[in-house]
Subunit: 295 residues, 5 copies
Amino acid sequence: MRPTLAEIGLGPGKKGRLHRILFRHGLGNGTALFLPYDQGLEHGPRDFVANPAAADPRYIIRLAIEGGFNGVVLQIGSAEKFYWDYAGEVPLVLKLNGKTDVPPETEALSPLHGSVDDAVRLGADAVGYTLYHGTPAAQADFTQLRQVREDAHRLGLPLIVWAYPRGSAVDAKGGRDSFYQIEYAARVTSELGADVVKVNFPHPNKRSGVPAAYDREVSTQDAVNAVVHSAGRTLVLFSGGEKASDEEMLERSREAMEAGATGLIYGRNMWQREHDDSLRFVARLREIMAKYPGN
Amino acid sequence: MRPTLAEIGLGPGKKGRLHRILFRHGLGNGTALFLPYDQGLEHGPRDFVANPAAADPRYIIRLAIEGGFNGVVLQIGSAEKFYWDYAGEVPLVLKLNGKTDVPPETEALSPLHGSVDDAVRLGADAVGYTLYHGTPAAQADFTQLRQVREDAHRLGLPLIVWAYPRGSAVDAKGGRDSFYQIEYAARVTSELGADVVKVNFPHPNKRSGVPAAYDREVSTQDAVNAVVHSAGRTLVLFSGGEKASDEEMLERSREAMEAGATGLIYGRNMWQREHDDSLRFVARLREIMAKYPGN
Amino acid sequence: MRPTLAEIGLGPGKKGRLHRILFRHGLGNGTALFLPYDQGLEHGPRDFVANPAAADPRYIIRLAIEGGFNGVVLQIGSAEKFYWDYAGEVPLVLKLNGKTDVPPETEALSPLHGSVDDAVRLGADAVGYTLYHGTPAAQADFTQLRQVREDAHRLGLPLIVWAYPRGSAVDAKGGRDSFYQIEYAARVTSELGADVVKVNFPHPNKRSGVPAAYDREVSTQDAVNAVVHSAGRTLVLFSGGEKASDEEMLERSREAMEAGATGLIYGRNMWQREHDDSLRFVARLREIMAKYPGN
Amino acid sequence: MRPTLAEIGLGPGKKGRLHRILFRHGLGNGTALFLPYDQGLEHGPRDFVANPAAADPRYIIRLAIEGGFNGVVLQIGSAEKFYWDYAGEVPLVLKLNGKTDVPPETEALSPLHGSVDDAVRLGADAVGYTLYHGTPAAQADFTQLRQVREDAHRLGLPLIVWAYPRGSAVDAKGGRDSFYQIEYAARVTSELGADVVKVNFPHPNKRSGVPAAYDREVSTQDAVNAVVHSAGRTLVLFSGGEKASDEEMLERSREAMEAGATGLIYGRNMWQREHDDSLRFVARLREIMAKYPGN
Amino acid sequence: MRPTLAEIGLGPGKKGRLHRILFRHGLGNGTALFLPYDQGLEHGPRDFVANPAAADPRYIIRLAIEGGFNGVVLQIGSAEKFYWDYAGEVPLVLKLNGKTDVPPETEALSPLHGSVDDAVRLGADAVGYTLYHGTPAAQADFTQLRQVREDAHRLGLPLIVWAYPRGSAVDAKGGRDSFYQIEYAARVTSELGADVVKVNFPHPNKRSGVPAAYDREVSTQDAVNAVVHSAGRTLVLFSGGEKASDEEMLERSREAMEAGATGLIYGRNMWQREHDDSLRFVARLREIMAKYPGN
């Protein structure tokens, strides 16, 4: 069951901003579809080869507006230079940390490059932070997250945490997409104070090195249910990762909403295709999301 | 001519929040109708005698939502205790200073009781500040306003200034409602960095002690035009003051919008009457405002 | 003799910004013609009656550019909302304090409404401060000036002080335009750390209540010479005050430059007339200033 | 297409200072030629062997003035001791970090030695920061850059980022001059909030270890185009690196301007030769840049 | 050529304090002889074995006074406890950082133990800081130096930097005494904003691992000349290091002064001998320095 905004202990700033995102944009029914655009930093311009127009942040922000998204996710530089033109037309989620994929990820850590004060100044309605669950660099990661959480609390901005299992220890225990690690990551994020958590879809068949409790047959739906359940009063978004087939994404989306997720956050699956095709895919997602209204 | 949001030198936070107020609430056509509710501090509970229900902030916030207002104005205490329930449903303008009407107003000054950080934390979309134009206490007043302006700039919140001529010197030169003082107040507020200025309707027939340039016959419309013109790129709201007849208020409202004002901010004229009567009055105001769309 | 920039003890920021103002704008010969526009706050919109177009800050900034001025002086609000369009085309002097003319001036004080940090952020090349020489409110005035001076030093911005004799004691000793008070004001400002001082033209015939040394026949030129001499290594600008005849202003200007003033700062004499007439007047001033190059 | 200053989301300070650099110095046509002089720290005095006169910062600053450069880049020490004489004659870019080439670059990081406040105090028109894209020391690098970006925003100074791929991971994936790493570096810098990015010319034939999308035949012009495109609204400068033949540099320069770069920043290619030869080379560069005016 | 105090961009505090050191103490001819006394921390009491009296800071301060030194260099503890008796009789240079020689120097860093505020409080006329050129710990070193430089600027104290090549990378490229590393260190220190740099005498025959430009025959005088030249407007002091023969020290001193150095800073060569012998050695140094007056 998806929690309601009135029951999850939020102050007025967080509650009001989440209300705006969930009920005054997109379908306005308490669900959310976000358009993330941090890949230029995370993976580099190679992600724009499939649809060169997507290299331009204006294209992405316009797509978010035309597609009726509940928010667009930008890094500080793109927000500073491109959001101004469209300020207020679609909610902004300011991503506060990020890293390139050049160095290896054995000690994964995503350094801060922006602040909650930046987010307020830019008129963002939420902030995003990537936590690398299981990384040997957890001390630096927790320290950064604590600062962001405190600032987000002080200024009343919802905190959305990208919860990604990463690092040498994760590789040895199920891997980054395993049900075990994804569920654990959702729980950790909830325990650390996120208002919303973004996770990848769990793969219950990845069991190499997982604890005994996870070394059994689990349906995808049950795994998704468990992830949402473990997140408690932290709202859950499922992300898409690399581009997959539309039918697969739609089925995953249905499972997510069925499990009580608040919504979806699809980037490459959204804009690594031609513009009108993106809008058609959005329309199909909205059909699904319309069946799961919240309050 | 009313300035557009794109041309008045705003950063993304101020632009986005004004866009939200002007284009995603109320008529959504770039005009604004605000519901101010600072009278419990400014005048005391005597203002609620005409309609005892109005003593309850919930009544006022609900009225703002039902009436499709572009914002409700609350002091810090009412915002803390009552806005939570409705956070995000109607924009909040947090009024940051206020005073009682117990001491005389010869050296009028409205002390700060809240901060822009409070406003951000509560999810407000703008802050309000009362400047007493012409007061002998100008040094304290300018100092307070400077702090609020700097914080509002830093955090990207629009600054709405209540520009009220007050004090012994004002009384000797036209008085608080004179065309001379109102226009001067609008100009001063613009020079001091307000994004929006709220003034009372000017009375061009109040000429006792005014400079020669103002000691002549001027129509009400010309006076209103002059006030809006003198405010430059600072958006103008006209306020109602004490309750007057509906026809008078509607005529004034028409003149204000005709002059290029962005909107109206009516309190006692709005809620010192029965609930449904308030909504009927709102409907008539919206008819007028619909004729003056902006962009 | 006008001091050179290399000999007056400036750090690189102040020297570079003054070099820019004096040698890369206007005539580029070390003289300066400034266009001040603080009258909307100081006197109110009545100053714009003679030429209503001048109520629009854009008109003034454009006039400064077209007329080849060395700088335009704006208050914080006009700078925030109007300078952006023309940023870098003409140097900005941000005026940091100001007052209305509504209360009496017996205890004249001009409260701060902006900061040197604001000036830097807006790309201003200098800051302006009004000091009321002789006011009973000197303690507050000196305190404000001290803060501005320290910040201007820290950030390397030239400090231009409007040195105006004001207050009940000044009225009793020569008055605000007397040679005695003007020269004293220039000296005080220099002693308090201004880089540039702006004074009105001294009237040596105003001798009521002045000390014995000033109670004698002095030519206007000698009085102007004395003011410049008393300012030492603080550069001197003469201001125009209320509109006077062109011939009178030109003669005064010649005297000022002859005395070693760095330049002129004329507002109402400049823009209380029709646009092309302003440019013709500028051309005649530039003829005079071209005869007094500095280095 | 080179972005215009009016469309890239700049506040008045950044816009005014960039206007000054691009339109009031050099060719004044919106292009820029910078003279960097950080090699004494980065490589040591050995870089001055080819032209011993270049060891003297005065020689370099004078060359910048005589050659009509749009700016000279100095470290804090040279700026403190040598810029004063020429303050305001040529824009100063204060480089805020730097390192020697004594230790190995596997974990490359360029420590801060100056601040944006220093830059303002010295009258600089922009600040420079070296980001080592791909370095294992990214957390410290991002942290430093974030502080510089926030201060530059607060004080209105344009931020120019030297974006250099470096470190063991870069060496394994294309290397520091590869098209892949240069384009990625330009994008990262844009995402992190630089106003201007300085990159070396990309070498599309360096493909060892690059992602599949880059493992193909690409012309130099197409690679340069891609780098400028990926930088979005961040203006691009191409740097020269070690001294090469004039014809090669001129051809590279033409390609850069053709791609929409804002300009060039050549150090060793400029001053590792005799004085008059430097000016002749500048003249040829200006011929190219004159063909690519901006607005 | 030694720079004059009037041409090196100093504010009045730094200029006045250097004037006091250079022209009102010692020979009073613009040269300087300093007595450093940081060896108790750097090497421990073993340095006092040769002359046990030198273990007493009083002995050293008296020697500085009797010998007519231009300054004595003390760490915070010695300054606190011993300078009081002689305050004002000989200028104090407060050394702000230092380290023991117990750990290896592969990642050499000299931690701060005092502040510029301490120096002002103690009446010091300058501060000293040790920078380890080429150390892998450059980030911490630059960060400390930046703070000291900013404070010294703010408070007007001259900053003397001990520029010592150190660390594993230095050892591999010429070593700590090589001409290459010493010249590079002088240049780096100048670029980082030192007013005075203290270096050891360069050894041009140490060429193992140096860049090609340094792998050639160079006379000692030419090397010393190059070091002074590379320091630009940063005044240069040569230090003595371990005790050597008097004739060798005198020849080195003559070369240093001939090259344009401002002076000498000899510790162990001065006080690791009997008292009167020290004074005789000082007398011979003064004979040399008297031949190189500055202005």
